[in-house]
């Protein structure tokens, strides 16, 4: 209770209560005197007066595990049926997973006809990848499976062993768990050439599943520990975002060197087969080939790994249970003496908004994530367009487009903090202008960098003015368009403090349409300089290139001015409604 400590009388009040309330009669406006007899407690929960019997009793470990798995199932079901769109998304995801699974199963059936050595190599490599996936995913997504979060279960009288068993069992429930189990069943069929190997594979499949699930629990515990330092979580989510963006280029470069990789696979598999990652996948091969010593040694590796994982998971669980309340994030960052960027902008409302937005571009991971996408996209385009260099033409324009598009989420990002702008009656124009100025400060160097990369690759000096013109139109004009549209239409974003990867509630197809329309509009308005760029490329006359620059700059500036005016007007008119709208995003 927030009341300050000095208060002398709660006890007195309580004591006085029965005496106090009969003085009810001056009941106002007939709101009922309402000394309702207390809601009757059902007889079933009233013990016999003398009976001191315990209503709770200790459950066995298996019973605990079963109930926890049941809890996980119920949570999963409720999450899926909460909204139609979630269900549709899950079904689509499930179909995709089924497709992958089907391909895998067919592959495994065919693999069964290959010689034992090939089967061993394939299963070690693929199996190691699966284990890596299970062990890394919780760390990368830094939220992983929070349903059986130990800190939420800390209040219940559960044994550590039962809890751990429940968590491992619970891992099976859910799409990744089911997929893994089915894939493991398929894996058994690959050993059908040798009955002894099949028997060994059954044991190994169980061990492998245990390794995967227990390892995932260890990783989640690790992730939870890391998550307590906020900065670390943000870094990790951004890095994983980058990794995902870079997957494309990585695969293309891999694909080009497929033959070389193929040749090296057996060597890798031989090494992996003696690590905790790969050992379990190689045992059936050893058994099938009659290498009993090797099989035993690998089995020892597996068992030792499993024991270590269980010990770590138990330890982490004990720590988490004992520390369930101490979840406060550590303070981060050094103390700042002045008011930072606010000193370097004019002391006007728009200057303040610009300074604040600029700080957010660097301090808020939701902004920094979109900032970090730029190098990822640059790298992807750089590698993709190795042949014609066409993609390099797109690069600077893409950066300009994405950066000006980024501020369309600004007010959604502010969430209810936007109320400060309303309370201070910031003129709509100042709000719009400040946000665009901050964006331009961040975006200009990036676009220049893109143009430099483009020049390095393409070396078309005469087209430089035209390229700059197109970028200016996209950046300035796009800023204007976004200023208008985002003053009226918003879309859900992760709320302040949430991970940039979090999917906000209530994101619908309509929001997606809005985003496409907005981008389309920005591109459409940048067409004049773009057309001039093409004319220049067609005719080779530098005049067209300079014309594109002029058109781009003028058009961009005019659009920006109009956008800030109109957007400001809309914002002035609809500020409170906008606040209500973004307040619902969580």
């Amino acid at each position: 209770m927030a009341s300050s400590g000095v208060n002398p009388d709660p006890a007195v009040q309580d004591a006085a209560d029965p005496g106090g309330h009969p003085a009810d009669p001056p009941a106002p406006s007939g709101e009922g005197p309402a000394i309702v007899p207390d809601a009757a407690v059902p007889d079933s929960v009233r013990p016999a007066p003398s009976g001191q019997e315990r209503v709770t009793h200790r459950m066995g470990v298996l019973e605990e595990a079963r109930r926890l798995a049941g809890l996980k199932w119920r949570i999963l079901r409720n999450t899926l049926t909460r909204s139609t769109w979630v269900l549709v998304g899950t079904i689509l995801g499930g179909l995709y997973a089924l497709f992958i699974l089907g391909v895998l199963l067919i592959g495994m059936v065919f693999l069964g006809t290959e010689p034992l050595a090939v089967v061993t190599t394939a299963s070690v490599v693929a199996g190691s990848a699966v284990l890596v996936g299970w062990w890394l995913m919780p760390v990368l997504t830094s939220k992983a499976d929070a349903t059986l979060d130990p800190s939420r279960l800390a209040l219940f009288p559960l044994s550590t062993t039962g809890l751990l068993a429940g968590q491992v069992l619970g891992a099976v429930i859910g799409i990744p768990g089911v997929l893994t189990v089915v894939a493991l069943l398929g894996w058994l069929s690959t050993w059908r050439a040798s009955p002894a190997a099949v028997v060994a594979a059954v044991v190994c499949a169980v061990l492998a599943a245990l390794l995967a699930f227990t390892g995932a629990r260890c990783a989640s515990a690790l992730a939870a520990r890391i998550a307590k330092g906020r900065r670390a979580t943000e870094t990790i989510s951004i890095v994983s975002l980058l990794l995902i963006a870079l997957l494309g280029p990585i695969f293309t470069s891999l694909a080009s060197g497929v033959e070389r990789v193929w040749d090296r696979l057996p060597g890798w598999a031989a090494v992996l087969g003696w690590t905790p990652l790969g050992a379990v996948w190689a045992v059936p091969g050893d058994v099938g080939a009659g290498h009993w010593g090797a099989a035993l040694a690998r089995l020892l590796i597996v068992l030792a790994t499993l024991a270590a994982l269980v010990a770590v998971a138990r330890f982490a669980l004990d720590r988490a249970l004992a520390d369930a309340a101490g979840g406060a994030a550590r303070a981060t960052g050094k103390s700042l003496t002045g008011i930072g960027a606010f000193d370097r902008f004019p002391a006007r409302p728009w200057g303040a908004v610009a300074a604040r937005s600029l700080i957010y571009w660097f301090k808020d991971p939701r902004y920094s994530a979109s900032l970090l996408m730029i190098p990822a996209i640059s790298a992807a385009l750089w590698f993709l367009g190795s042949d014609s260099g066409f993609s390099m033409w797109v690069l600077p324009m893409m950066i300009a487009l994405l950066m000006s598009y980024a501020i369309s989420a600004d007010i959604s990002y502010d969430n209810t903090a936007f109320s400060l702008h309303l309370l201070a009656s910031v003129p709509g124009r100042a709000d719009r202008l400040g946000r665009v100025v901050a964006m331009l400060i961040v975006a200009t160097p990036l676009v220049v960098l893109g143009v430099v990369l483009w020049l390095v690759r393409v070396q078309q000096w005469p087209a430089l003015p035209a390229m700059l013109g197109v970028c200016a139109a996209l950046l300035l004009g796009g800023g204007g368009v976004v200023s208008v549209v985002s003053a009226r239409y918003t879309y859900p974003t992760p709320p302040p403090g949430a991970s940039p990867m979090k999917t906000p509630q209530g994101f619908t197809i309509l929001n997606l349409v809005l985003q496409f329309v907005l981008m389309g509009l920005m591109v459409l308005l940048a067409l004049p300089p773009l057309v001039l760029l093409f004319v220049h490329l067609g005719s080779g006359d530098p005049l067209w290139s300079w014309a594109a620059l002029a058109v781009g700059l003028v058009e961009g500036a005019v659009l920006l001015w109009l956008g800030v005016r109109l957007g400001g007007k809309w914002l002035d008119a609809r500020g409170p409604e906008l606040l209500q709208e973004v307040a619902g995003y969580r």
Partner: protein, 330 residues
């Protein structure tokens, strides 16, 4: 678009007063809070005696006529109604409130009684379905409609919304300065007042850290500082003491009392009756979107404690746990 640099600086001599009270942050004047009985706490306010008194013992909401032009009012709410959706129950149902100038006004009610809705509408954050909100003050002392002339009205108000996010990636100092600069105040003035407020809130050590690292109490205090930087004549604070530690709460209370003594008006919403009874001199009771009673603390309490009086108004259960005979240690 551009206020004159000192525009929001209302005619009161705020900076001087600010620096004065950091010398003795708390405990300056005990009389008001310790008044236990409701009657004595009226002492802090003198001007508007028992202002809209008339018929306050008959708390039936609709009977008292709202004075057409009450010069001594800091905030007048007339027939304020908010209906969400089309045919829902109104979250605020023809709310009438008159907050006298210089009063320390408490708005009490259960969760969901419509306090936050009412205050949001009164401060320009939520457009009312119907009704009117007038804010007094200013040099010519006239009532200004919040929804007709928001710029003038908001210049007079400092608001602490309940549960709103702050721009919490800013440091505490930056946040307060931002709030001032947004209002078009002069930079030097903003920096001076920011330092004064930080000292007054006892946040010197934390001022350079990001607000997201603050505890709940510190967050409330920095938000309060951000609401006061333009020296408003009316402070509207929604649940200002929620999860604030006792020392900070005492600190804030004494600061607010000094503020009212120097002519400012404070409106506080809370569901902690004890706190309101000790702190406020006027009170309004809300339930289910309606005002059940309002007036000076003495008028509303009518000799009882505010909590008892509130329960009798609202008609809740008073005795707990009679039916739970099985709930006892083994």
């Amino acid at each position: 678009m551009s206020h004159p640099p000192n525009g929001p600086t209302t005619p009161r001599r705020e900076p001087a007063h600010d620096t004065r009270h950091d010398a003795h942050p708390a405990r300056q004047h005990a009389p008001a809070p310790e008044g236990a009985g409701a009657s004595s706490s009226t002492g802090t306010t003198s001007p508007g005696a028992p202002p809209p008194a008339a018929d306050e013992e008959r708390p039936a909401p609709r009977t008292h006529p709202v004075p057409v032009h009450d010069a001594a009012a800091a905030l007048v709410v007339r027939d304020l109604t908010k209906v969400y959706g089309h045919d829902g129950r109104p979250a605020a149902d023809r709310v009438d409130l008159t907050v006298p100038r210089g009063s320390f006004y408490g708005l009490v009610g259960r969760n969901g009684a419509g306090k936050t809705t009412t205050l949001s509408m009164a401060t320009g954050l939520l457009r009312p379905t119907s009704g009117q909100v007038l804010v007094g003050g200013g040099s010519r002392d006239e009532l200004v409609d919040v929804w007709r002339d928001p710029i003038t009205a908001k210049r007079r108000m400092g608001v602490l919304p309940d549960g709103a996010h702050l721009f919490d990636r800013l440091t505490g100092r930056q946040l307060v300065a931002y709030s001032g600069l947004l209002r078009g105040m002069d930079r030097q003035l903003v920096e001076d007042r920011t330092e004064d407020l930080i000292v007054a809130m006892d946040l010197q050590d934390a001022a350079g850290r990001q607000v997201q690292d603050y505890s709940a109490g510190m967050t409330k205090k920095i938000a309060l500082a951000a609401a006061m930087i333009h020296a408003p004549s009316l402070l509207v604070l929604d649940e200002p003491f929620e999860s604030v530690d006792p020392v900070s709460a005492a600190n804030i209370r004494s600061l607010l009392h000094q503020y009212t003594e120097s002519g400012g008006t404070v409106v506080v919403s809370s569901h902690v009756m004890d706190l309101v009874q000790r702190m406020c001199d006027h009170v309004a009771v809300m339930d289910q979107g309606r005002v059940l009673a309002q007036g000076t603390m003495a008028q509303v309490c009518d000799g009882m404690s505010l909590e008892d009086r509130f329960v009798s108004f609202v008609g809740g259960r008073t005795e707990a746990g009679e039916g739970l005979q099985w709930l006892r240690p083994e």
